[in-house]
Amino acid sequence: MKATAAASNGLVWEEMRSRLHIRSRFMMESLQDKALIRSTYTDDEIKVLPDTHLIHLGGISIMDRGRAALAPLVEEIVEARKAHQFVLSVGGGVRERHTYALGIDLGLPTGGLASVAWMVCEQNAVMLFNLLAQHRGIQVPYLHFEMLPIYLREGSIPIVMPMPSYFFWDTPPRRGRIPPHRPDTGAYLLSEVWSMRSCLFVKDENGLYSDNPKKNSRAEFIPRISVADLLKLDPPDLPIERSVLEILQVARNRTEIRIINGLKPGTLSRALAGEDVGSTIHQ
């Protein structure tokens, strides 16, 4: 296989004019070659939104609690916006779980479950938008993500629906059928691809524990841990999706996430200010 005559600027005919290529470092490559893949690794990825924080509000832990949890949190968010730039996202919560339970009982595959679950996150994003509208909240659909810089500069509080767009293409997990890419994962992936300043998971516990503190009163609080150590520790339960930990291992930009308690006033503001509150999981 030889590339022979240059057809015109940048275009290359293969022998016998069998294929027309574009000259590039990947021309005629399968993209599976290991050395080629390694050559694409670089540490200086561009920074897309480096001054913006990602704040993800838990579904069950925050939204499903209604006004009791949200009213003070919204107040705190509005106040914090004066000093910080951030994008808000929100999980699905108990209706998301109900959707999975029902869907599994009916025999839906993983991709089918992922395709119906996002509507629940959308509902939560709509509610969050309505709570924040008078304070410059704006709901930003997936297709308008390129508008975020305008909204941020204008002083808005952008709200995104973080169920990642895997839909029918979500990957079946090893056991069971729950889609592995859910709202925590989507929120975290946004903070990674946009190299955001922080990724804060706002939940209803002080952070990470060695087991689910709601079920095991002897679970130990873990203030800071590397993702490798956490996977070695292999806690029976986690406050964030396991896919987040998998991705954190190979992340380039957002190599640290924080889990904080949104039920304790002031915690979010302190986390935004860079204080060491809650639990940190780092690469």
């Binding site: 290529h21 399968s30 109900h98 895997y166 979500d170 709601k214 339960d237 998998e246 992340a251």
Partner: protein, 268 residues
């Protein structure tokens, strides 16, 4: 107000427990479209060859229409490679690169659609997934872009920046979620080789191999995306795939009839 109260035995469950089955997931999974074949038309291997490769293949696809229900998906090819190389040079993260790649397989799907339109080709938007049965029952051939819709939610690639889930992966997952009868990858080689046969003409041909063996051999180059092999390990429906040479007339028809004409990769 107390947290989440649609009362059930699952209250307090996080869905993040260690490797457990949630919600009594012991029953069978439905097959959404068990009679359909999902066929991937290679980008670099078929589309970029233009008329010489694409026209005879289309003829063969149309000839099979009375006997087989088919969904076609497209790869990217040389334009994907070019935009990846530019984006890489500019320091784009994997998620942005995946978004760029998606647009090229979209182009190829539109091209294929125009060629197949008079034979009942319909362009299938991902949002119109629910129209699949309508199209197939009307005797149409749905054509979809191969890239999965992950785009900026694509995971950072391990050890590189080329998105790991590309068009082979998208088409494979489409077949898997549908519970398809078969997933066939139409490329320009007879099947899987131990090395890229275009670089080493004496590369060993592998007619049939298990996923476990393939993972153990850990080949340096591979004709199908590694992600597909990884996903096959947990697949519920599509436990084998076939790679066939679309430049040889009759191969696709024989593969649709269940014959072994290229390389079969199987998970069991």
């Amino acid at each position: 107000m107390k947290p989440g109260k649609v009362e059930s035995s699952y209250s307090g469950q996080t869905l993040n427990e260690r490797d457990v089955i949630h919600f009594d997931d012991t029953g069978d999974e439905i097959e959404i479209l068990p009679s359909v074949h999902v066929i991937k038309i290679g980008g670099q291997s078929i589309m970029d060859r233009g008329k010489a490769a694409v026209y005879p293949l289309i003829e063969e696809i149309v000839a099979n229409k009375p006997r087989h229900k088919m969904i076609l998906g497209t790869g990217g090819g040389t334009r994907s490679r070019h935009v990846y190389s530019i984006a890489m040079d500019l320091g784009m993260p994997t998620g942005v690169i995946a978004r760029l790649g998606s647009l090229v397989s979209h182009q190829n799907a539109k091209i294929l659609h125009m060629l197949l339109c008079k034979h009942g080709g319909v362009f299938l938007l991902r949002d119109n997934f629910e129209h699949l049965a309508l199209y197939l029952n009307a005797g149409c051939i749905p054509i979809i872009e191969g890239m999965p819709p992950y785009e900026i939610y694509e995971r950072p690639a391990r050890g590189g920046r080329i998105p790991e889930s590309r068009t082979d992966t998208g088409i494979y997952l489409l077949g898997e979620v549908l519970g398809a009868r078969s997933v066939i990858f139409v490329k320009d080689e007879d099947g899987l080789f131990a090395e890229d046969p275009k670089k080493n003409p004496r590369a060993e041909f592998i007619p049939k191999i298990s996923v476990a063996e393939l993972l153990e051999r850990d080949l340096n180059d591979l004709m199908v995306e590694r992600k597909v092999i990884e996903l096959m390990q947990t697949a519920r429906h599509v436990r084998q795939i076939q790679l066939v040479n679309g430049l040889k007339a009759g191969n696709l028809s024989r593969a649709l009839d269940g014959e072994h004409v290229g390389t079969i990769i199987h998970a069991d």
